[in-house]
């Protein structure tokens, strides 16, 4: 059989040491904040989506764990009548690569904050953002950028306009490219074309700092999104005074990555010059109700495989241990 590196990378000495060190540092950070580890099985026996690694175990079709959040949700819904409020995880997930440079085996560390549906969630969102703000120091990253977004800024106007799924998908794809002109092209002569294009232009306005939220003034959906805006404003007020020196905080109103999963605030961690985000997360309140549990949840995942790649190509971004 041909060896298909880099899809199946072997970690040699320095990278293996780095992985263990980072896993240890991040799990210690999460433990110090009350997040207790759960370890869902690597082999899953449940319906699996496209893109995961599947194989037959005798007559049974099984799959390797492809996503910690989904695997943990299954475990929690099966085993816990009441949710543990804070859980952490570390290990590998396996997915078929979408891009040619992506590995199949991906190492991750992450955490989830779970609450009964009726509890207020704003404090949990800020707690997770504060925790993610501590991650660059734990990893020895010299500088990082934290992007705050909110899935509802795009989701709610699309729902309000009752766009057909294909058209909504085209608008989201255009926003993912940060291309307001593509939103206009996609909507063509749809009755909501003018409103949604103006909204896309507002989301993509080139502002910086706390003023970024003012861009929403220009949106036809400003009133519809008042609650989300207030939520982001409160989060910024809580986070900016405690921002570590090595971290920039930016508001990314047009963040649509994972829009079919996230329902509320989103978090993404970048390093200057990195080609992919190093950590990502947000609020996903639909997951547990789909498993018949009246719980809400948010979390983030640190993508250690991407960090290992970055340490190999840009060692200057990291402190020497």
């Amino acid at each position: 059989m041909p060896v298909r590196t880099p899809h199946f990378p072997d970690l040699l000495f320095d990278a293996a040491v780095r992985l263990r060190r980072w896993e240890g540092a991040l799990m210690a950070l999460l433990d110090a904040h009350g997040y207790r580890e759960l370890h869902p099985s690597l082999v899953l026996r449940e319906p699996v989506p496209e893109g995961v690694l599947r194989f037959f175990d005798g007559d049974d079709l099984v799959a390797l764990r492809w996503d910690f959040t989904v695997a943990l949700a299954g475990l929690l819904a099966r085993r816990f009548p009441e949710p543990p409020d804070r859980v952490a995880y570390a290990g590998a997930v396996f997915r078929r690569p979408v891009q040619p440079w992506e590995a199949v085996e991906r190492f991750e560390v992450g955490c989830e904050r779970i609450q009964p549906a009726e509890e207020p969630s704003a404090e949990a969102d800020v707690e997770l953002a504060r925790l993610l703000m501590a991650v660059p120091q734990a990893l020895g990253l010299k500088h990082a950028i934290l992007h705050l977004g909110h899935a509802a800024l795009v989701r709610r106007p699309l729902e309000a306009e009752q766009l057909p799924p294909d058209l909504a998908k085209a608008v989201v794809a255009a926003l993912s490219r940060r291309a307001a002109h593509r939103v206009r092209e996609a909507l063509a002569d749809h009755p909501a074309a003018r409103r949604l294009t103006a909204h896309a232009e507002a989301l993509l306005a080139d502002l910086d700092g706390p003023d970024t939220l003012k861009a929403l003034d220009a949106s036809p959906y400003a009133d519809l999104l008042a609650e989300e805006r207030a939520h982001m404003d409160r989060a910024l007020r809580a986070l900016l005074p405690i921002l570590p020196d090595r971290l920039d905080l930016r508001v990314d109103l047009a963040d649509v990555a994972g829009l079919d999963f996230y329902t509320g605030p989103t978090l993404r961690l970048w390093a200057p010059g990195a080609q992919q985000e190093l950590a990502a997360g947000g609020r996903y309140d639909h997951l547990f109700p789909e498993l018949a549990r009246p719980w809400q949840a948010a979390g983030f995942c640190v993508r250690l495989s991407r960090l290992l790649d970055l340490a190999g190509t840009r060692p200057d971004l990291f402190e020497q241990p």
Partner: protein, 212 residues
């Protein structure tokens, strides 16, 4: 030392149109290097290099983050559908993606054929059009000289970019349907644009001012 910023420019039709527009700007390409066979061209801004690439390869360099910015036709972007940012429609290099057949063949004739064969460099856009029209066809993938295919019996018609129509006319072909429109787009690597906006945005603004 900071690594140079690479900007990917297309060779060919679009490249011919944009190089003169950059003259006199901070991103003007070094004239001597342009005349050589070198593919990494210094610009008037130290630390910023231009890459000259085939259009169909260019988005890969940007999506992988090798080049931070690039200029490419929207037809190529639509075919490859890579993960990158599309900062602006620059407007120039406008052309149409057309179904073209021998001049005496009408669209209805093509639609009525039980086994339609279409030669193209644009299979994705062609499949999307076929789906919209409720048609099926055998696609013949070609990478150059597509106009020859109907003349030599390799296909019934072609789907290709048409700017003036002169090449079509020279081969006895005519536009039967317009599938879409294409123009030059300013693209950016997602990582570079989102993690280093202070470094990338000023260069994008120079390109927008010169080319937009």
């Amino acid at each position: 030392m900071t690594a140079p910023v690479l900007i990917a420019f297309p060779k060919g039709r679009l490249g011919d149109a944009l190089v003169p527009r950059l003259a006199g700007t901070p991103l003007a390409l070094d004239a001597a290097a342009l005349k050589s066979r070198v593919l990494r061209i210094p610009t008037a801004t130290p630390g910023v290099l231009a890459l000259l690439l085939k259009g169909s390869d260019l988005p890969r360099y940007v999506a992988a983050g090798v080049a931070s910015l690039g200029i490419v036709g929207s037809d190529t972007l639509d075919e490859l559908d890579m993960d990158l940012l599309e900062l602006a429609d620059l407007g120039f290099g406008a052309c149409r993606l057309c179904l073209c057949a021998p001049a005496e063949v009408a669209l209805e004739d093509l639609k009525a054929r039980p086994h339609l064969r279409l030669a193209t460099k644009f299979p994705r856009a062609t499949e999307a059009w076929l789906a919209r029209e409720g048609l099926t066809a055998e696609l013949v993938p070609l990478s150059s000289s597509v106009e020859l295919a109907p003349l030599l019996g390799l296909a019934d018609a072609i789907v290709d970019l048409v700017q003036t129509g002169a090449t079509l006319k020279a081969h006895g072909l005519a536009v039967t349907a317009v599938l879409g429109r294409s123009s030059a787009r300013l693209i950016a690597a997602r990582g570079a644009a989102l993690s280093e906006p202070g470094r990338i945005r000023p260069l994008a603004d120079i390109l927008l001012k010169a080319l937009g």
